[in-house]
């Protein structure tokens, strides 16, 4: 499961745009990852401009 560091997140939504599982939602300033849908592909980790996401 990908971990979110909310202190580093700039809420840009780039991670949402690469999540083929539709597991990520950006609700205003807060990223939410649906643990049921996330398949740990780590695509979101690569695209994050701020290192706010950490893969397993």
């Amino acid at each position: 499961m990908v971990k979110i560091n909310y202190k580093k997140c700039g809420y840009c939504g780039a991670c949402v745009g690469v999540c083929e599982q539709l597991a990520i939602n950006l609700i205003e300033h807060i990223i939410e990852i649906d643990t049921e849908k996330c398949n740990n592909c780590n695509m979101c980790v690569i695209v994050c401009p701020l290192n706010a996401l950490e893969g397993e």
Partner: protein
Amino acid sequence: MMRELNDIYDVVVVGAGPGGCMASYASAKNGAKTLLIEKSQEIGEPVRCAEAIPSIEEFGIEPKPEFVRNIIKGGILFSPSGKKVIVTQDKAQGYVVERKIFDKYLAIRAAKAGSKVVVKTTAIGLEKDGDYWNVIVEFLGEEYCIKTKIVIAADGVESNIAEYAGLKAKKKPLEVCSCAEYEMANVRLLDKNMMEFYFGNEISPGGYVWIFPKGDTANVGLGVRDRKKKAIDYLEDFIENGMAKDRLKEATPIEFKVGGAPVSGPIEKTYTDGVLVVGDAAGQISPLTGGGIYLAMDCGLIAGEVASKAIKMNDWSEKILKEYEDRWKEKHYEYLMNHLKYRKILEKMSDDELDALAEALGESLDGVDLKKFVKRIITKKPSLLKYFKDLL
């Protein structure tokens, strides 16, 4: 609750960026009952963009001082070793705007044309309901179901809405340019009306660094496509050690912006029964420059026109809505695909080759069309021809 959430619409537009606002404007103006949904509590915020746009006069929008921060005459491109190439033509000219004010202005313009607008309202789902769509939204922790004939998905790089409707809109991570930017005061500019672009595999692989003058400030940022290092780290490095470091010594940030620019070209299909996809969500953004405001606005306008026409015809099936894709492709597809081609060439070149390219091009790109461009390379740097021969 906002009373707008308790109604049935002809057209619901998700996302109040420039594309969504123009779509709502055109849809409402042509008589369709329209709702524009924005998830932020403030339209225009957070800014994810370098804020440069080409001409907006063709949309009948006056470049008002309330949102225009600067007039741009062109750009100065820097090769990795610092060789300069100047461009002052066509799309290199335009404005740097305050996006927070500009987007709000466009939303007000849509409202004045008759569109309803809701804010702090997030679309979290989409369900087919006979000939209608139910847009599931959340506002202040409550769920609402909004019935509509047509949904225009203008939800940006996130592009969940198109996916809910069964279209393929998600991107690969290395097809999204990861951007970080400081808007800074006290930047010593080379020319207050010229944008600066810096290229190089060391400073910003898969993208470039920009300094866009914005009146009292400048947007200093970059985009990268890279697995090793983050955009923010490249940016701090450029400010500290980059080619413009002496002119950034006194600079200090007044805003921080991040974003993802989908630079893989347009998505495969931008329409289906009762759904149109617009702007970044549709990949309507230059794969070369990452510029997308103008494209989103123009395609949004077309989407709003086609949607309202479909409502008048009482047929919003994909057969009718296909007109949207036909029209935007007719105007912009070749441009987008050419820019994708150019980007793919540039990203293959080493820093030495980029320097050689800048040398071959000479000081100015003005008046240089593709033929002249390739001719300069053939005569001055034939070793680079392998990259460009297919363009002829």
